[in-house]
């Protein structure tokens, strides 16, 4: 197959969702710049899964890749949902935290590294419980410190989505890019049904779930920044676009009084995706103001 035919073919969509974590990272970096760090041949595996009779994966489900984005040094941390549902264990989480910490170190020395996290995770890997939680806290610390120097960009493409403690990490990102298939929430629908009852949420009602936490709703309400098609080029372009915007003046998690005001304007007896769109106006959120604590 010649590249010429590829380039001149009608604009076929290259599904991003169908790509593995490694292929996703490669697709987002400038062509020919992908270089994996701590790859499968380094064989740093979970020390805890074998103790519980679970087969390890040589990269523990996290791919760290360096390269460039728009010619600028970058690092991508991509979570592989095909291994243990993208859950965060000691090794996979440490890989992501360490990548962010090294990007921070470089930024502190005046060498900007663009960080991108591809979230595809249910959160903590329950077999590594407290260490999963601990590494997520470490990742969060790194994101907060790093995003003062450079935008930290998160992508939620689907199909797993982004849940648990990792949804907080996503919330801390400077910019979030989502597809319609990507879902962002703290507690998965099944967990809510289990903890609060089916009258609170019927997790089998997929339409309701998607309207509640799907990418389209998250972007419409300002909890994510860009909605893209399931297309590798679209994701790539959206990433370049938000890096070009630079460090936001006030990331969402610093807009405390604005969000408290939105909550105050919300009637708890009438919370629906539609009423939320009225109150959490995306345009308003898109123009952040520096606010006093």
């Amino acid at each position: 197959m010649s590249t010429a035919t590829l380039q001149h073919a009608p604009a076929l969509r290259d599904s991003f969702i169908e790509l593995t974590a490694r292929e996703r990272a490669r697709a987002l970096l400038d062509e020919g710049t992908f270089r994996e760090l701590l790859g499968p041949f380094d064989r740093i595996e979970s020390p805890w899964l074998p103790l519980q009779g679970i087969v390890c994966q040589a990269d523990d489900g996290a791919v760290i890749a360096r390269g460039t984005i728009d010619g600028q040094p970058a690092v991508i941390a991509a979570i592989e949902s095909a291994f243990q549902g993208g859950s965060i264990g000691e090794v996979s989480g440490s890989k992501i935290a360490a990548a962010l910490e090294l990007a921070l170190r470089d930024c502190e020395r005046g060498k900007i590294v663009r960080p991108v996290v591809l979230f595809e995770t249910g959160g903590v890997r329950l077999q590594e419980a407290n260490l999963g939680l601990a590494v997520i806290a470490e990742m969060q610390a790194a994101i907060v410190a790093l995003r003062r120097y450079v935008p930290v960009v998160g992508v939620i493409a689907g199909m797993v989505g982004c849940f648990g403690g990792m949804s907080l990490a996503a919330g801390l990102c400077s910019y979030l890019i989502a597809t319609k298939q990507g879902r962002l929430g703290m507690n998965g629908p099944e967990v809510i049904e289990q903890e609060a009852g089916i009258e609170e949420l019927d997790s089998s009602d997929r339409r309701r779930v998607w309207q509640m936490i799907g990418g389209e709703q998250r972007v419409a309400t300002g909890l994510a920044d860009a909605l893209v098609d399931d297309d590798a080029h679209a994701v790539r372009d959206a990433i370049r676009d938000v890096f070009a915007r630079g460090v936001p003046e006030a990331p969402r998690t610093e807009q405390v009084s604005a969000y408290l005001a939105r909550l105050a304007r919300t009637d708890p007896a009438d919370v629906t995706p539609e009423t939320m769109r009225d109150v959490f106006n995306a345009n308003e959120a898109a123009a952040p103001r520096r606010e006093q604590a």
């Binding site: 760090l37 407290n130 939680l133 703290m186």
Partner: protein, 273 residues
């Protein structure tokens, strides 16, 4: 929250701080600690909360954003001074709030805002200390306590750290609660006990011999002493991040993989030239 029983979060806030300057669900106040003024924060039950799934000592939408507001207000007080006040998170949080409204309105962001506030306080030079007096569970602990420079805990029944409540974890992993407890004895990160949490290098001091529900004045003073010591320790740290958690002798054993990942990733970070 049924009845009027005082939670540990309330009891220890009163013991260490006195009166709160903010209403439930987030109490905040100032008190002397080791000869300086410190700010204390606790998440307490709020039986009349507008969000019915967040009336217990859980972290919900208002809890997350109000923690962020309160911590940032304390930071603001020291904005122009070199010396930053200690910030103490009194941790007694059963879980995050589970509900349709919570997810719809972005509880993940509310909790992230609290994470951000504590992390930013630490980065700004505030010594941040978490005092675990009850459950420190999952996302609720991430939001309230896990960004601290130092984590200390009462060695008492009912104090625990985990990624998921025991009953829920048993259901999800199809094990019995007894099986889970047994598993925790051999697989350290699976355990709910503070002793195991300490083995992971994450706990700085386990405070023994304190009645968590009805402490004597002497016991309260002892806890205050541990907090003041933790503040001093945090002030002497050379870095403001969380890297210290990997430096203890226990961490070198139980978190060898975390350390190895960092070492080898650093080696490979820059392309060989």
């Amino acid at each position: 929250m049924s009845g009027t029983a005082e939670t540990r979060g309330m009891r220890w806030f009163k013991a260490l701080t006195g009166d709160t300057s903010t209403d439930a669900p987030v109490w905040s106040g100032e008190a002397s600690l080791g000869g300086e003024t410190a700010s204390f924060f606790s998440v307490v039950p709020d039986p009349d909360n507008r969000f019915p799934r967040a009336r217990d000592n859980v972290v919900g939408l208002e809890q997350g954003w109000k923690l962020a507001q309160a911590v940032r207000a304390a930071m603001e007080q020291d904005a122009s001074s070199q010396r930053k006040r200690p910030i103490v998170a009194i941790v007694d949080v059963k879980s995050q709030a589970y509900g349709y409204r919570e997810e719809t309105l972005g509880i993940h962001l509310a909790c992230a805002a609290a994470v951000d506030a504590y992390a930013s306080a630490r980065d700004a030079g505030h010594p941040v200390v978490a005092l675990i007096v009850g459950p420190a569970m999952s996302g609720a602990f991430l939001a309230h306590g896990y960004q601290a420079n130092r984590i200390v805990a009462l060695d008492a029944p009912g104090t625990m750290v985990h990624a998921m409540g025991k009953e829920a974890a048993a259901r999800v992993t199809r094990r019995t609660v007894e099986d889970l407890d047994k598993l925790g004895e051999t697989i350290t990160p699976m355990s709910y006990t503070l002793a195991s949490f300490a083995k992971l290098g994450l706990l700085d001091t386990l405070i023994e011999g304190v009645d968590a529900d009805a402490p004597t004045q002497a016991q309260i003073e002892r806890v205050r002493g541990v907090l003041a010591e933790a503040v001093q320790g945090a002030r002497s740290d050379t870095t403001r991040g969380l890297s210290r958690r990997l430096e203890s002798e226990t961490a070198k054993k139980t978190r060898a993989a975390s350390i190895e990942v960092r070492r080898r990733l650093a080696e490979q970070w820059d392309a060989a030239s």
